[in-house]
Symmetry: C2
Subunit: 382 residues, 2 copies
């Protein structure tokens, strides 16, 4: 295996050196002033990134943990919920809600399709639900949906809107309060540029009301205990203090760049990635438009197994992309361009894909992808 | 506040520079060979430290998370359980079991008392239970109980034994298999010398059987999903890869020292701490014997609020000790000597306590504590 590594998956993503330096600082006590100061700053920056006046709850855990927190804090056994899915992570909502004994109505699309708000509204009109669970950026397919119509139709149907924004937050526009999203579940290991281990959830006043009557058992991921602790900067359990220090630095970098600038950068990275792949002669799997700003998925060319391509890239060239998951296994590969990325990461990914496909005997156009990507990245404004 | 910090609480504890350097390495993908190799090594080292042939489950989360995993995976609503508590963390077992709708029989001792196995056996004889939850090292009081009689009486009564070994694992002897402990719940942020964010649980064959029929909802902390993932080194959720890299280094250091040597070091650290405090004229709260090898608790002298002492030490001298919790607030202070500690950490703590008590006008014996501690540390064998 080569010495130098390039992490280009849709998560975890590379952390900036400044973030790694912050997490390597000596451990501090979570109830002392050193930590409390950065905890307060971090929670405030999270509100800015989520664009909410509500408290953003911070847990030690993965994205799945914060998704579970939403189910556990909003649902009682037997509660009817609607899950809209079109990929691996959308289906996780259904699995978690099932595990909690919810009565799950599952509006399931073929992976890669774009869920329709009209379909969801029709389902809710047929069968009321306490909550609508859906996905902002479906990491397994590269599809980024617009959460606004889903939030609106949920509100109109008297259901809470709960969105998985794990790979989208900080990469593409998300307006928690302005769009009326009741719960935004996210994590720090994607566009927030922090090593994995921090789970996040914003909770609207309506969601707080619901959580007060929801009877599913919960303790570690209990929202109220966490809110009470955060209110006095006295976390109910020992938080992952080193990762929080890293997240605080990463959020500072993101806010210094500016959220709008970061969103524009992600759009241009997606554009560069798509144009480069097409120049090679590959067929895109994720939509060929500027909504695809988080992860670009492409079909492996005829006769090439995408899993083999990913392994070759990783083991011979040190470049880690993501293979297809579930029903897309062997068919697609995915390039994440989330967080600490610039256009030269895209050109590296493209150069490596081109090289590896040639090695696998595929018939690809050589020598144009990198230049086309650079040109596409330069086209502004978005 | 002074520049230099001394973290001397019973958790989180200082991480060695080698561990901090490991967590600051570039983020790797959790399904790639770099991570899988260290994940396998880490899981194997955990089995050595837990002294078990069973799989040790690794979660992103805090110690409370792994305690909750035990309740959620073993109990169905209405199941009768016995909780034995004599402090803050013992009572947490009761809170979690309550939250899951268990029928909790709570054998509650005054904080600082040493729970009696005979009492627990009598309770189980009166009222059967599916599990006995108890505490190995009660961090809030400094009392370390012997888990063996509790494991035995539980087995004899047909109950599973579930022990909180969060602050004890790696500091004092713990024989998961030889003592027949069904579940050992622990974390990496104490004697395992890693920044907080990793929760651990070993599960015996009998506990696996029970978990297969327990109906409490769980997903993130579900044992079976986690075991399946670990079996193929394919974690069911994104693990905290950077912290796992740190833990792997820390476990290597601990096993290089040797578990028995580490246990002896902790006994001697406790002895040094106790002799130093007594030389100052202070009264110990934790037992004055070699069982007190994790955290030493002492009463503040007449007229001194222990909380004030802790704040002065922290804010003027940069030395962080722990105050009393709950009903011991204001009365005791606690010096953690867990993990990355040597005798000079003890002498630093003692010198600082002596200085601060003088500043607070207390009548303490000056100039003997450090020397007495050094002498006590030298007495071997344990």
């Amino acid at each position: 295996m080569p010495e130098k590594r390039y992490l280009m998956t849709p998560g975890p993503t590379p952390a900036p050196p400044e973030v790694l330096a912050a997490i390597a600082q000596p451990v501090v006590h979570h109830r002392g002033p050193d930590f409390k100061q950065l905890y307060a700053e971090c929670l405030e920056r999270l509100r800015q990134v989520f664009r909410t006046e509500s408290e953003v709850l911070l847990f030690g855990g993965s994205g799945t943990g914060t998704m579970e927190s939403a189910v556990a804090n909003l649902c009682s056994p037997g509660d009817r919920v609607l899950v809209v899915s079109a990929g691996y992570f959308g289906e996780r909502w259904a699995s978690i809600a099932d595990a909690y004994g919810a009565d799950v109505d599952h509006l399931r699309y073929v992976w890669g399709e774009i869920p329709s708000a009209e379909d969801a509204a029709a389902r809710l009109a047929e069968r009321e639900a306490v909550a609508l669970f859906f996905t902002h950026s479906e990491t397994s397919t590269g599809v980024v949906s617009d959460p606004q119509p889903f939030a609106q139709l949920a509100r109109e149907a008297g259901a809470l809107s709960v969105v998985d924004a794990i790979s989208s937050l900080g990469a593409v526009p998300l307006e928690t309060d302005a769009w009326g999203l009741d719960v935004v579940a996210s994590g720090a290991q994607k566009a927030l540029m922090t090593p994995p281990g921090i789970a996040l959830a914003s909770v609207s006043p309506a969601a707080w009301e619901r959580s007060a009557i929801a009877t599913s058992p919960r303790f570690y991921f209990d929202w109220e205990r966490t809110r009470k602790g955060q209110a006095t900067l006295d976390a109910p359990v020992t938080p992952p203090v080193s990762l929080v220090a890293g997240l605080n630095v990463a959020l500072g970098m993101l806010l210094d760049e500016g959220l709008e600038a970061a969103f524009e950068r992600h759009v241009r990275l997606g554009r560069a990635c798509r144009e480069g792949l097409k120049a090679m002669g590959l067929e895109l799997f994720s939509p060929d438009d500027d909504s695809s700003a988080v992860v670009t998925a492409a079909r492996a060319p005829e006769g090439v197994d995408s899993g083999e391509l990913v392994l070759l890239l990783r083991d011979r060239h040190g470049v880690t992309l993501a293979p297809g998951q579930g029903e897309l296994k062997g068919k697609i590969f995915r390039i994440g361009h989330i967080g600490y990325y610039d256009v030269f990461d895209i050109t590296t990914a493209l150069a490596a894909v081109e090289l590896a496909l040639i090695e696998l005997g595929a018939d690809v156009e050589r020598g144009t992808a990198v230049t086309r990507a650079l040109e596409a990245f330069e086209r502004t404004p978005v």
